[in-house]
């Protein structure tokens, strides 16, 4: 197998990643790491290898080594009880959120975990919510045991402070299903009951049968108007209360008038009414709303800091380690943080060496070294070994929490006025005018009966429901197509706001650049293998993040023996290797004339003779420069980064000379910059960022889009979430969203054609229920087909669907 290595790419049996030079072979299978191998072994031991038969490489890479005591806090009954939904002593119900669930293998494995431990009675996966519901016997296996079992097979439950503080059982809203079902039922049956009347000329029907049918029709229409259509009335009423006429108001009016007039006709026995048309409209509008509001249950757009935080931390009290829920940490407690753990509170380092990765909070791409006595802010992640911290602020008081809770109100007000509402309003005015003219005409002619007829039927036939239908179906389909491109929007209103964007603000680290991936280039004298070994040997003794990056780049084993190693804090390192004096560090420290640009450089000299510099640059995501090229013609671009200005020249070149590039910006600076753009310059801002450092800015901007490498990762609150690999499609997406408005207008124009036909009869006062019953479904269905077809066509034009 090894001899073939040069031309075959070895794929890990578990996760399907290409195996690096150090892979593990077990039987005939290759694994990229120990984590993957141990998952395989567990599954193999319990005869669960069907997991691998259902899909190729179904696993996820087991990158993080899980500390043995990580879930010790679940032994604390106070914490564990908060997770339990129900228990009777021998059966405990619990639901875990497992963001790793992604395929049918996951489904199969998680529903067969009872084979691993008989203490688990049953487990059931809700795939859409990425949840597993487990019933276990607490006498056989503890809560901690269940969590550890899931972790061992590669599904570490996401346990956060939020899970514990909010009520466990998520309420699933199914009312819309009931409403659609009921409206469809009533619509179809009223239609059916009306047929004898329509086709028999009204005269041939026996009076008794006729009366029975009408009574059934009225009874069937009652749930439609009281239950199914209730949301239109409620929305309209809420709008009116705020002195705002939204699209629901004319619709509610039309429904009420249709119902009232139909009842009047039926009671006075002058006609059969338009109850079938009315329930049909309600039915189609509900379907449209359902499509539009179909939310992505797995993706949460309104996360707050609590979902990022661990449930509990280890607190050192009188030489005993105790797990304490995060919100009960007090000032002056000493907490213990392990490798790869998030620091939940602002604290002072009291023991150990901290290398804190603040990329989440500040956007800096490299970990920061923190010395004893210095403060560490909440939100940082320890990347070094175990440390002890003295708490200076409680969770609710920390810097991060304050940033999150900073109030902003400007957005909620401006987002409301949708063009659909505005058009609906004009539409209503026009219809009312036509109604008044027609009614006035008949009144002048002295035909009072026809006046009422004309007035009401005009309102019935010209209900702006066509506008609402075209809007909701178009938006629904746009949302669907965008989600196929891994771009998820919070709701349909975002589509419209996005089409008015004028300025796009980017964050750099994590948004434009790839996370934790740096690009090292070397400039200077040729590096011979011996020289490489010498440099590597010196670097190997340094903990500085830059040293590690260069060491990785050199890819040479540090085998030389070094002497008199010395670190100058924040400057560099020096040592004697094979009778040579090596100095590695900043330009000032190493000395000598060398090309100088930016900060992230590592200079090297031997015996005071400069040899070269390693430039450490970010790796940009694929396609971002092309994206800039197409975007800068249409929008004002700018960039705000928490990182240093190393990349300024490169970015300036790509983004154009007139764009604003700001570096070393704190989260507050970012927020203020967005405010400045929106309030002072009156720009409509689209902010694209990631991480907590952008959280304030994302919230403040008109549209905030969070970038993530994995939809399951935790992203700050935003209006939309885009998968990092799709960020280069941003230009197409924006164009596509703009075309949505065209589609709505076009389909609306078509519905107006239907309206004119209807109005032709209505102004004459001769709109019969049968014409209404034909026109209504025709216009609704053609609008649905047109909006769907056009949005699909535009998606193809902008390369957002596969042309199959």
């Amino acid at each position: 197998m090894n001899s073939l290595k040069t031309n075959t790419i070895l794929l890990c049996e578990h996760c399907g990643d290409t195996c690096q030079n150090q892979h593990i072979t077990l039987r005939n299978m290759v694994f990229c790491c120990d984590g993957c191998k141990s998952v395989y072994q567990i599954l193999n031991d319990y005869n669960l290898c069907e997991y691998y038969d259902l899909n190729n490489h179904p696993g996820l890479k087991q990158t993080n080594h899980i500390r043995k005591e990580k879930f010790a806090f679940l032994d604390n009954p106070e914490i564990a009880n908060k997770l339990i939904q129900f228990t009777d002593g021998s059966r405990t119900h619990v639901t875990f959120y497992l963001p790793q669930i992604h395929c049918s293998s996951c489904l199969w494995l998680l529903e067969h975990i009872h084979r691993i431990n008989p203490g688990i009675t049953s487990s059931r996966v809700n795939f859409t919510n990425k949840e597993v519901f487990i019933i276990f016997d607490p006498l056989v296996i503890s809560m901690r045991g269940v969590v550890e079992l899931l972790t061992h097979i590669g599904y570490e439950p996401h346990l956060s402070m939020e899970d514990v503080s909010r009520h466990q059982l998520r309420h699933i809203d199914r009312t819309r299903w009931y409403k659609i079902g009921l409206a469809g039922f009533c619509f179809a049956n009223i239609m059916m009951m009306s047929f004898p009347e329509y086709f028999s000329d009204g005269a041939t029907l026996e009076p008794l049968i006729k009366r029975t049918l009408t009574i059934i029709i009225v009874i069937l229409s009652l749930p439609v108007i009281t239950y199914c259509a209730s949301e239109f009335f409620i929305n309209a009423w809420n709008g009116l209360k705020n002195k705002y006429l939204n699209i629901d108001a004319p619709i509610a009016l039309a429904i009420l008038i249709t119902f009232g007039r139909s009842l009047y006709e039926i009671i006075t026995a002058t006609g059969t009414g338009y109850l079938d048309s009315m329930s049909g409209i309600v039915f189609f509008m509900l379907i449209g709303r359902w499509l539009q509001d179909k939310t992505y249950q797995t993706i949460s757009f309104d996360r707050d800091f609590r979902s990022f935080f661990p449930i509990a931390v280890n607190v050192l009290k009188d030489n005993n380690i105790k797990t304490v829920p995060v919100d009960q940490i007090k000032i002056n407690d000493i907490i213990i943080i392990h490798h790869q753990e998030l620091i939940p509170v602002d604290a002072i380092l009291s023991k150990g060496h901290a290398e804190v990765d603040y990329s989440f909070v500040t956007g800096e791409s490299l970990p920061v070294n923190v010395n004893k006595g210095e403060i560490i802010y909440a939100g940082g992640k320890q990347t070094g070994s175990i440390i002890e911290l003295l708490v200076v602020k409680e969770v609710s008081q920390s810097y991060l929490t304050n940033l999150w809770n900073k109030e902003n109100t400007s957005k909620t007000i401006s987002a409301q006025h949708s063009f659909i509402d505005v058009m609906g309003r004009y539409f209503t005015y026009i219809i009312l005018t036509i109604g008044a003219i027609a009614g006035g005409y008949w009144l002048w002619k002295g035909e009072t009966h026809l006046m009422w007829n004309a007035l009401t039927t005009i309102l019935i036939v010209a209900c702006p429901c066509a506008l609402l239908l075209s809007a909701s179906f178009t938006r629904g389909n746009i949302l669907r197509i965008l989600s196929l491109n891994k771009f998820y929007l919070k709701n349909a209103n975002v589509i419209e706001s996005m089409s008015h964007i004028g300025t796009i603000v980017f964050d750099k680290t994590g948004t434009l650049t790839e996370n934790h991936k740096t690009n090292v280039s070397y400039a200077g004298m040729f590096l011979s293998p011996t020289l490489k070994t010498r440099i590597a040997s010196v670097l190997n003794h340094s903990n500085h993040p830059l040293s590690k990056v260069v060491l990785l780049y050199l890819d040479t084993p540090p085998t030389s023996h070094i002497e008199s190693f010395k670190i100058t804090e924040h400057q560099g390192i020096e040592a004697w290797v094979d009778e040579h004096h090596l100095k590695i560090g900043s330009q000032e420290f190493v000395g000598g004339l060398m090309p100088h640009n930016g900060k992230s450089n590592v200079a090297v000299s031997i015996d005071s003779q400069p040899i070269g510099v390693f430039h450490i640059t970010n790796t940009y995501r694929q396609g971002v420069f092309d994206l800039f090229k197409s975007l800068k013609r249409k929008y004002t671009l700018s960039l705000i980064s928490g990182d240093n200005n190393n990349e300024e020249t490169r970015l300036r070149e790509k983004m154009g000379n007139d764009c604003v590039l700001l570096f070393e910006q704190s989260p507050y600076d970012k927020l203020d910059y967005i405010r400045y753009l929106q309030d002072t310059k009156k720009e409509k801002v689209l902010m694209i960022g990631d991480g907590l450092n952008d959280a304030g800015a994302l919230k403040e901007s008109h549209i905030g889009i969070a970038v993530c490498d994995d939809e399951n990762n935790f992203t700050p609150a935003a209006d939309g979430i885009i998968h990092a690999s799709k960020i280069s499609l941003m230009d197409n997406i924006l164009e596509y969203i703009k075309s949505g408005k065209k589609i709505i207008l076009l389909s609306f124009a078509i519905s107006i054609a239907y309206n004119i036909i209807g109005l032709f009869f209505a102004v004459q006062g001769t709109l019969s229920p049968i014409i209404a019953a034909i026109l209504m479904p025709c216009s609704s269905i053609s609008i649905i087909l047109i909006t769907f077809g056009l949005s699909q066509l535009f998606a193809k034009k902008y390369n957002l669907v596969n042309s199959e």
Partner: protein, 51 residues
């Protein structure tokens, strides 16, 4: 004529049965997750052979 009425009532009755069935399935949570159930049914249960 009364044949039509009879037919209407029968079909109405059938429709009611389906409506109740629909409500039942919604209440049962069948519309909550549209991925797992169609796949779950395809899994072959090899459990008996194993043990």
């Amino acid at each position: 004529m009364s044949a039509i009425i009879l037919l209407l009532l029968v079909s109405f009755g059938i429709a009611v049965v389906f409506l109740v069935g629909f409500f039942w399935s919604v209440r049962d949570g069948q519309f909550d997750d549209d991925y797992a159930p169609p796949r779950r049914i395809l899994f072959e249960d090899k459990e008996e052979k194993v043990s």
